[in-house]
């Protein structure tokens, strides 16, 4: 079955990070993605632009309300995701633990609801 790993981290901390730290983080993500591809678990994954680029839409009673900004103001923000193929939660959690983002923020693991 499939699981989504949702990567949360403080955008302020990412912006404040030194060039060396950022470079090291990118390299770690590169190695992590490659390991997932080699293990045959990777379905897809992407990074998201910061929440300053987000636009949120609600249409109560059919009338669209468009707001600039993220869905909610939070301490840590959704910054990227991986969609993986894993036989069970333990396997999915083992990949979440290895995600470089886990050391600096949080990885939410959600099973995919197949429609």
């Amino acid at each position: 079955m499939q699981y989504m790993l949702l990567i949360y981290r403080s955008e302020a901390a990412i912006e404040a990070a030194s060039k060396a730290d950022t470079g090291q983080m990118m390299a770690a993500y590169g190695a992590y993605s490659e390991a997932m591809v080699k293990a045959g678990v990777m379905v897809s994954g992407n990074r998201l632009h910061p929440t300053s680029t987000a636009t949120t839409v609600r249409s109560p009673a059919g009338k669209a309300q468009v707001l600039d900004g993220p869905y909610a103001e939070t301490k840590e923000q959704l910054g990227g995701y991986f969609l993986i193929e894993a036989p069970d939660l333990d396997t999915a959690l083992s990949w979440a633990e290895r995600c470089p983002g886990a050391a600096l923020g949080a990885i939410e693991v959600r099973p995919i609801w197949v429609m």
Binding site: M1, P87, D88, L89, D90, T91, L93, V109, P111, W113
Partner: protein, 408 residues
Amino acid sequence: MSETNHIAEAVARASYGKLLALIAARTGDVAGAEDALSEAFAAALAGWPAQGVPENPRAWLLTVARRKLIDAARRNRTTHEASAHLQLLAEEIAEATADDVPDQRLALMFVCAHRAIHEAVRAPLMLQTVLGLDAATIASAFLTAPATMGQRLARAKARIRLAAIPFRLPEHADLHERLQAVLDAIYAAFSSGWTEPGGTEFRRRGLTQEAIWLCRLVVSLLPDEPEALGLLALMLYAESRRAARRTADGDYVPLDEQNPAGWDENLIEQAETLLLRASAIGVVGRFQLEAAVQSAHVVRRRTGRSDWPAIVRLYDVLETVTGSPVVAINRAVALAEAMGAIVGLAQLDLLADDPRLADYQPYWAARAGLLARTGAADLAGAAYRRAIGLEADPAVRRFLQGRLAALR
């Protein structure tokens, strides 16, 4: 009740967890397995009195439950994958001879105590799935509203199914850590029964027995795990003193005033044997240490006195392992017995600033007892009053009030 009903009940009790674990391990769906199994038991209670008990009741129940599962799968238009699991289950039943079916209960216990399941719901989930206790009984033991408990259990089961928590024993590297979670849940079930020491309320007294049963099961399936042996020993030591903890009138009797003649020799012997087995394996842990403290108390049967110096040494190690203020209190009390009340009191003073102890009755009771022994009656009285105000058990409250009155 007819004899057939008795047999059906007995089979139910002995087989429930085993059958549930077997089905749930195949389908990954605990709630679905419960539904199918309860229909199978209902069919047994309806049919067996007239038709007689089948030769292999367990296989009969499993066959009926499987049929119910297939019906449910058809109703829900379940995926191809689920039917494959049901096919495998059918094959297992066919292979199961009169003697037995594979035991998946340990895998089920690891699911119940999985790190993705909230800690507070692990013990209730285990009691319900492995032992078949109903949500109302579990709720009353954990002082929770039945509807709330039912909802928590239902959510946990949905999580097991949807997030696909695997039914299998952890890898060797993770086994000890994961087993600790299972043992912690069992101990939580035991403690929920233990806080009602008089056993005046039937339901809550019951859970200590259920916890011991669960731990015996773990020990029988993982015989070389020292902490499982240690926990079982610890619970048996405690259980051996149940009767001695109350007078005939229901008054509380503290450990040091209990008559060892009222302790259950058989349970103590079992506990001592288990603890020896655990220590022979050579990996010390919290439950073994706590059981060893109990062992040092029961030497009083022969010597007339607990081995206080040994108890102090055990609490020294326990304090390093757990860092718990509760352990520190017990250590201070043991120190007072070994070296005098002043020494114990000095240790308690070191804890006085811990905010967790502000509403912790045993701290104030221990403090009061030691102060009284040093002759500081006023301070002792104040501490006794604080302990009395924090105590929920009327018998213990009466005991503390008696001590307070004796100060004057």
